[in-house]
Structures are given as C-alpha cells and as structure tokens.
Subunit: 95 residues, 4 copies
C-alpha cells in the first residue's frame, strides 16, 4: 500500500479526531442529563464543523501529494486521480 | 430544569450517538493504518451525514414539543421560542 | 388559497430575489468574459449563501405564521404542519 | 489574461446559468402569486443544488486544467494554485 497524502499530518489529524470523539461523548452526556434541545443542537453543529475541518485538511493533503504526484507522472493515472478527487469533493459539498 | 423535547427519544438518540462515536474511532484506526485519503474522506462524509440526521431528529422533537407548547401558551414566550428555533436552523444550514 | 406566511415580507423577499437574479446574470458575464475560475467560484458561493438567506427567511415566516396558527388550532392539522416543516428543513440542510 | 480552465465548457455552463436565472424568475413569480411557503422553499432548495452543480463543474475544470498545468510546471506556482484551490473548496463546503 502506498503512503497516503496525509502521512506528515497523521499526529495532527489523530488529535483532531480524538477531540471530536470527546465532543461526541459530551453530546451523549448532554442527552443523558436532559440538556435543553437548542444547547444540544449547537454542540452538534460545532461537532459537524470540526468534522468538515478534518475533511478539508485530508483533501488538501491529498491534492498536494497524491494528485500532484499523479499529475507529475501524467497520462491516464492523472485523469483517474483528478476524477476521483472531484467526486470526493462533490460528496463533501453535498454532505 | 424542564423536560427536553426529545425525552421520549433519548434511547434512540443515544444509540445513534454511540454509533457515531464508533465511526469516529473507525476513522482514527483508518488514519493509524495509513488508509487511502479518498476512503477516509468518504467515511468522514458518512459520519457528517449521521450527525446531521441526529440534528434533524432533535430539531423535529424540539418543534413538536417545546415550540408547540410555547405557541399553545401564546404571548412573548412563543415568539422567543420561534426566534430561537429559527436561529438554530440557520446555524444548522450553514454548518 | 390561504395567505402565505411571508405575506408581510413579500416586498423584501422579492428585492432579495431580484438581487440574486442580478448575481446570476453577473456570473453569466464573468463566464462570457473568461474570468478566472476561482473568481467565478467565489461569486457562485456568495450567490448560494444569498439563496440560503432567502430560504431561512421564508422558513422563519412560515413557522411564525402558518405553523403557529396550525398549532394554535391543534389536532391533526398541527401535526401535519410540523411534519411538513421538518421535512422542508431536512431538504434545506442537505441541499 | 490566461484562458480559464472551463473554456471548453463555456456553452454548457452558460446554459446551466440561464436555466438557474429562469428558476430565480420562477421564484419571483411564486412569491408574487402568494404560493405556499413550503412549495417556494422546495424550489429554493432545487435552485441551490443547481448552483452547487455549477460550482462543482467549474472546480473540476479548474483542477483538470489550471491546477494540472501549474503542477506540471512545478515550483512555487504549483503550491500557490493548490492552496488557492483548497481555499475555494473550503468556502464551497461551508456555503
């Protein structure tokens, strides 16, 4: 298996994900404690934005490394990688 | 503290949140295992959608109970609840 | 046909929509003039946000009037209106 | 001024934008005719999705041409283009 584009940022991405895991557990506690709906909703929005930030970082690393390398090598591989990245961006924009 | 609108759905919402917590831990394992960027991104999109579904369920319960009760009582309290719900929806649409 | 919830805001909503129509025509001119992709993209994002603001205003008026009236009358009609509003919010969050 | 990435798709993009302009005018007529809030909202959602589709097409063309050329030439220009594209994607995801 090839090295992923985010290899130099693994520690930073894992830290972000562990913080998001903590936010989810915080949400579970809020529900358990019957916290007010609107306060829970605001925490869900904050967690969603944190997840989107992880997605944007992964995408940036993917383009700077995997897509860049494929384009530098040229040919059919470059096109495949560009189509794949475009499809992932579309899913991200729509989610 | 008043009973929150989602009180009858607590078990279902907690189940959803625990599943999302599992998805986040799955993402951590994917990063740890150097999984391919696009595969990680797709799991992030799936997790974001699952979080949005929780937000939509909380909002539905909030409107069916908290907002409905405030409107039935009428007066200034109804207006406050409607403005508060509108603001929460705006944050949700923009997150 | 009943009066829609936004009846008192018709002029304001029409003004917003005409401004958005102008933004769309501005986008057509940018494409016609071969403007740089990123500049066009930023104008598309601004136009999307302007459309979302119209949606949020329509939704706020709908809840303050149509949903509120149905809830005040109670019964099955209130439930129908709440379900309908929840479904519209879900489509908005996912679009 | 350089040729934009979407140059081969100008006609298709202009067609999409003119259709969206028609959707906006349709929204103005709906408001003018006091159409039901939820029906208007659904048309706003459809128009927002059509605008997002234009953004995704512009982005795909930008990556396949402008970013690809900059990467093929290498150096600082490639990095600038990748950062610029990442920032545009972030604005798109958040709008």
């Amino acid at each position: 298996m090839a090295t992923p584009g985010y290899v130099d940022e693994k520690a930073a991405i894992l830290r972000r994900l562990r913080r998001i895991e903590g936010q989810i557990r915080g949400l579970e506690r809020m529900i358990d404690d019957d916290q007010y709906c609107i306060n829970v909703l605001d925490q869900v929005s904050a967690t969603t934005r944190a997840l989107q930030a992880v997605a944007l970082q992964l995408l940036r690393e993917h383009m700077s490394h995997c897509v860049t390398e494929a384009v530098a090598q040229g040919g059919r591989g470059a096109e495949v990688k560009l189509n794949e990245a475009s499809a992932a961006i579309a899913r991200l924009v729509r989610s």
